[in-house]
Symmetry: C2
Subunit: 336 residues, 2 copies
DNA sequence: GCAAGCTTTGCACACGCTTGCAAACAAGCG
DNA sequence: CGCTTGTTTGCAAGCGTGTGCAAAGCTTGC
């Protein structure tokens, strides 16, 4: 197989009998080409299998069409759902998604952003971790847009999208109270991210305000296994809680499974459970988890919309978006 | 904020007091630079916040470092797990992943490949759908490598990675037989992909060979909901199967949930269930699903390994890899 | 028929980088 | 010291594209 390089605009031009600028303009929306030459060009391009070289194009224009998605734990239900929405909407907006995995190590996000710069990405969307302020400034200085999702940074410049975590924590307390629960518990990961802590603080605040007993445990990462461990901790106590709010649906699934299958507890009769995210599994028959829904579609829409506003124009003052997580009722909290 | 363009190698060169070539060579592994000038260059680069422009670099070199992942239904547990492995290993190999979502519409994969060409990707990995032969040839002709995962095409050129689906179907029959099951069922999606059909054919073949009763239903897409519908179909029959092999873990979860919660069937006492993929949920306490494990790590390793063999050298004859899916035993099939 | 206005087209430069080539330089050897 | 060999370094020619500028072509109105 001869690794003959790609067809260039020059070859198309020669075959079509026009100048190279003509073929360039043919593939540039809004450029001035007569219908006749356009036809000649597209025909030749078709015949030769010509495809514009976006790398070269990105070299000339200041934008590449690339948007970096910086994320850890891609395989997690909530993360992958958000990924689906983002990539889909980005494609519809004519952008292309570059996926960068981070781990939880230090500097991981910084390395990702550095890659975004090397590929001259138009924007970076950060779903996990928090980058160093200096590299954030570097990105912004070069016209790269930044979106922080659920990251709660207050540096000006990036668009910040956050949920009403604190209020959700409060709201679920009243739901538990209405179900007649007296002894509340919050099962958290010890990752300590602002979203998780916001939910916790709202929950504890509302519980004490209502005069309800409340206790908190934190363990591991926000996954199923951690939920089981947390159940172990809460359910081997002398006095068990009768309502537990898990910081994450995955935690909730693990917690519920342990409660039912290892401790023989009946949910929601003996214990009410709620989660956060509304991952697909929350709706499965085995769980029927009452939970707060992350508005992933809306998050993605807001993000991509902000990226698509006119470049040359005003920086439209939007700096921060706050969305509310709706509580979707299923069967893990008993009726009042 | 002044959209002052990115720092170029020229500016670094001027500040360092060397030629532009020197800074280029400093960032090109294996190029000839003295330790002294390298130091001057890296210092200047650091001070100025210089980052190599990979777009321009990809214009010169014949490879861009970009690898396209073409996939539909990213948010699915198996798909996202594979995605995690692939992106991780690609990054370790110094490549960068470009994610392209496809839907199930016609030409969707072709459009994705066309984008891969426009960005001069070094390779494309296709996890969903099957591209048109003509565009495959176009990719290959231009030195773009292609990997088809579980797609079962026989065009020469791409690397094809497949599982022993047929054999898995056979193996699970003997497991069912050993558990004393008499009436077998296969719950499939009607997507009709080669992997799914392979599992079905292997299952049916082995069952009839063993003289066991066997019936097949196909419905919808390979998700949880389809599993519930399939359960409905099988379990409202006059004669219920006592063992069902689901083409996919998601189908199995839906099936099992419906069987237990809607039909009050006890698994595995009254009915044995097996799945395929070994998604995370299969190991959750509520399911304990006995299933075949997709060797995602191995698939990713084989893929990235193949992409990393020396370009200039031989095309190393490898064209097709066949991996085996190990059966992982849990509790959804009763012991013999 | 001519001037004015608009559209189309080609030229040529720029984008930021890599790399072959040859000059410059350093070192080893008789 | 001269010759040879090996290492650095700068020059300049690209890579494939977009786009300003001016020339050319076409249309319109008088």
């Amino acid at each position: 197989m001869p690794p003959k390089d790609f067809i260039s605009a020059l070859e198309v031009a020669q075959r079509a009998g026009v100048s190279r600028s003509a073929v360039s303009r043919t593939f540039t929306p809004g450029a001035s080409v007569s219908a006749e030459t356009r036809k000649k060009v597209t025909d030749a391009a078709e015949a030769l299998g010509y495809h514009v070289n976006e790398l070269a194009r990105g070299l000339m224009r200041s934008h590449s069409g690339i948007v970096c998605l910086i994320v850890s734990d891609v395989a997690t239900p909530y993360r992958s759902a958000l990924l689906r929405e983002l990539t889909g909407k980005l494609q519809n907006a004519g952008k292309v998604a570059m996926l960068i995995n981070t781990d939880r190590s230090d500097g991981s996000v910084d390395r990702a952003l550095s890659q975004a710069i090397r590929y001259r990405a138009d924007a970076s969307i950060i779903l996990s971790g928090l980058p160093d302020a200096s590299i954030v400034r570097l990105c912004l200085r070069n016209g790269q847009r930044l979106v922080l999702i659920n990251r709660d940074d207050d540096e000006p410049g990036p668009l910040k999208i956050n949920l009403d975590d604190f209020e959700a924590g409060e709201r679920i307390v009243t739901a538990f109270a209405r179900a007649g629960c007296k002894s509340l518990a919050f099962a958290n990961s010890d990752a300590g991210t602002p979203s998780l802590m916001g939910r916790e603080r709202g929950f504890v605040a509302a519980a004490t305000r209502c005069g309800l007993e409340v206790s908190v445990e934190r363990y591991g990462w926000t996954g199923y296994e951690a939920g089981r461990v947390l159940a172990q901790r809460f359910l081997t106590r002398s006095r068990r809680p009768d309502a537990v709010f898990c910081a994450t649906d995955l935690l909730a699934c693990g917690f519920m499974d342990a409660a039912r299958h290892q401790f023989g507890i009946s949910v929601p009769d003996q214990m009410c459970i709620a989660g956060f995210d509304d991952i697909e599994q929350a709706s499965w028959l085995s769980y029927g988890l009452t939970t707060f829904a992350q508005p992933v579609a809306e998050i993605a829409a807001k993000t991509v919309g902000w990226l698509s506003v006119d470049d040359n124009g005003n920086d439209n003052g939007l700096q921060s978006v706050r969305l509310t997580a709706e509580l979707v009722w299923r069967t893990s909290i008993r009726a009042a």
